[in-house]
């Protein structure tokens, strides 16, 4: 079918169009009258971990939520620009945001398992997508890849809420990857967790990189340095009176951390911010 609206963005990233899964160009983004983000162009590459860093309130979570149209749920949300997912503009009128979210999964800041058994939590996506095959196998597979299987294999029918915070977050990751979405968005997935649980999730991300494209928002610079292949730095522009976030610099993580081009980036990385 050729109904899918073609993306009109010229691919960035060295002309390697196949390497780019999501090409995101946020020109202007409003919540009501509040301009939250402007001029942010990021190309997400397949099989890599991309991190968004920046001070709080710089719109990094907002940009992340653009990638699977979670912002549509906010009243007064208005978007100008394009987000191209595999060559399709997902903000085109003909696109169903619900469908977008099936291909682009999301893990949230707070662990949010449903008040049902561990098994049914993971099988939720299978049910949504009308999966007819062996559910138990899929669930086990997802739990194994989320490094949770050994801890829960004997209590799959206990409530998901009975797990610890770190386990709950890994359960949410298992739930998100059970359907094998193309991209996994993670919105500060470790901010509610202790350092040990955080470490486990980071190892897990590196593990999942084999199969998934991951985009992560983090306020923890070390975390970005440890896991991300590419990093985008967003900053707040207060010159026009508001607090509008924009992309300052985007590139290889090494380059951003060791040899940033922009002065803002350099100041932020070295902790020299007022």
């Amino acid at each position: 079918m050729s109904l899918a609206p073609q993306c009109s963005l010229n691919s960035v990233s060295n002309g390697d169009k196949d390497g780019v899964v999501i090409d995101c160009d946020v020109r202007e983004l409003y919540y009501g009258k509040f301009k939250a983000v402007r001029d942010t162009r990021i190309a997400i590459e397949r099989g890599k971990i991309t991190a968004f860093i920046g001070p709080s309130g710089c719109g990094k979570s907002t940009v992340l939520r653009c990638l699977n149209r979670m912002n549509d749920l906010v009243r007064g949300f208005r978007f100008e620009g394009q987000v191209c997912f595999q060559g399709t503009d997902i903000y085109h009128n003909s696109i169903d945001p619900v469908a977008v979210r099936r291909y682009i999964g999301m893990v949230f800041q707070q662990p949010n398992p449903f008040a049902m058994s561990i098994f049914r939590n993971v099988a939720f996506g299978l049910k949504l997508n009308g999966y007819k095959g062996d559910k138990a196998e899929r669930v086990e597979n997802a739990l194994r890849r989320a490094a949770l299987w050994d801890e829960v294999k004997d209590k799959l029918h206990d409530s998901g809420l009975s797990l610890s915070g770190g386990q709950q977050q890994r359960l949410c990751i298992a739930r998100a990857i059970a359907t094998q979405p193309q991209v996994l968005l993670m919105d500060e997935p470790c901010s509610a967790l202790d350092p040990i649980a955080t470490r486990r999730i980071e190892d897990l991300m590196l593990e999942l990189k084999q199969n998934f494209t991951i985009v992560i928002v983090t306020h923890n610079l070390q975390q970005a340095q440890r896991v991300a292949d590419k990093t985008g730095f967003l900053y707040v522009d207060t010159t026009q009176g508001g607090r509008t976030g924009y992309l300052v610099e985007y590139g290889e993580t090494r380059q951003i951390f060791e040899d940033p081009v922009e002065k803002y980036t350099q100041d932020y990385i070295s902790g020299r911010f007022s």
Binding site: Q86, V98, R102, Y103, N129, Y131, Q180, P181, N211
Partner: protein
């Protein structure tokens, strides 16, 4: 999204797919259904008002204002008037409101000041078990129990209260009423004898029924008074009751007033206990011991056996009852609204 769908399968074992047509249409259908049901609720209220009003229109045009000011109810001569019922409705409700508010607020103060907790605590202290793992919890538990018992009063069906009123309250207060009538008969409110059913037993039972509402809402607003106000009053050397009367009750007065209005609305519409206890006679009297009638009781007693002509008249009475309850609720909401905005203004 068809293209991305094919891409997805090429990726290996991905099972993601766009929502099927069934899912999409199901979603739309459900949203429509929810709109429909929401509209139905609104239409239901309008339809209720319409049904009653439509049936009442012939009687309204026939009797007009004379219906409201008339004092006779006689299906044989086709003379209908509901002034005694309006009087009885207001009199019994106000009587119940006075009693119910006194007791309801007293219970709320008793609970919010934790009298019971302190009392039980000091008893436990006599035995030296006030911090015992089991006995130590007793003060809190008994307070919760007391609160639940008061709430339980609201759960008993009104017809059971009516039964209780006939066989417990009336025999109980009759000798007392007799004594008042003999000794103080010159005062209008004691001017007649209590022959059985009457305004006072109806009012007492009605007050029992509305007291839990007043107590529960008053308790909540008393507990919502910031502790710093109490501490300020104590710090100035006020006694407990100077604090309660001077600071706490005035601060909570808005909530208590709301409770009283709500209870008044309930009392106006309460039917069964009154139909069983008020005596059902068309009398306008100041006396607490005289029988009377209310609009709701009038409907309850006459509807089932009413002939075609009388139905319209009863519908007219129902419309008046609806009007009075609406008026009380709307005026109550308006006053509450004003009181709250006034206080917020003072805060600034």
């Amino acid at each position: 999204m068809a293209e991305t769908g094919t891409n997805a399968t090429s990726k290996g074992d991905s099972i993601t797919r766009a929502p099927t047509a069934f899912e999409k249409h199901g979603n739309t259908a459900f949203r429509l259904a929810s709109y429909l049901f929401a509209w139905m609720t609104v239409l239901l209220v309008l339809y209720i008002a319409y049904t009653i009003a439509r049936q009442a229109v012939p009687a309204m045009s026939k009797y007009g204002w004379g219906f409201v000011t008339g004092t006779k109810w006689d299906p044989n001569t086709k003379e209908f008037g509901v002034l005694p019922e309006i009087w009885g409705t207001l009199y019994s409700s106000l009587l119940a409101l006075v009693l119910g508010t006194l007791f309801g607020v007293a219970v709320a103060v008793y609970l919010s000041e934790h009298y019971l907790g302190f009392l039980v605590f000091s008893v436990l202290k006599l035995f030296g078990v006030q911090f015992h793992p089991f006995w130590g919890k007793l003060p809190d538990r008994l307070e919760v129990l007391l609160k639940n018992l008061i709430e339980l009063l609201a759960a008993i069906p009104s017809v059971v209260y009516g039964l209780w009123g006939i066989y417990f309250i009336i025999p109980l207060i009759r000798p007392l009423c007799q004594w008042f009538q003999v000794k103080l008969g010159w005062i209008p409110i004691f001017s007649t004898t209590l022959s059985g059913p009457g305004m006072l037993p109806a009012g007492i039972v009605l007050s029992v029924m509305i007291m839990p509402t007043i107590a529960a809402i008053s308790l909540n607003s008393l507990l919502a008074v910031p502790p710093k106000l109490r501490q300020a009053a104590y710090g100035l050397g006020a006694t407990r009751w100077e604090t309660i009367l001077g600071v706490i009750l005035p601060t909570a007065s808005k909530g208590i007033f709301g409770a009283v209005i709500l209870a008044f609305g309930r009392a106006l519409g309460e039917t069964m206990a009154l139909a069983m206890l008020i005596g059902n006679s068309n009398v306008i009297s100041w006396s607490l011991f005289s029988p009377g009638n209310t609009l709701a009781a009038l409907l309850a007693n006459n509807f089932a056996e009413a002939g075609p002509g009388e139905i319209g008249v009863l519908m007219f009475a129902a419309l008046i009852l609806l009007g009075i309850t609406l008026l009380v609720n709307v005026v109550g909401a308006f006053i509450l609204d004003k009181a709250s905005s006034g206080r917020e203004g003072a805060k600034r």
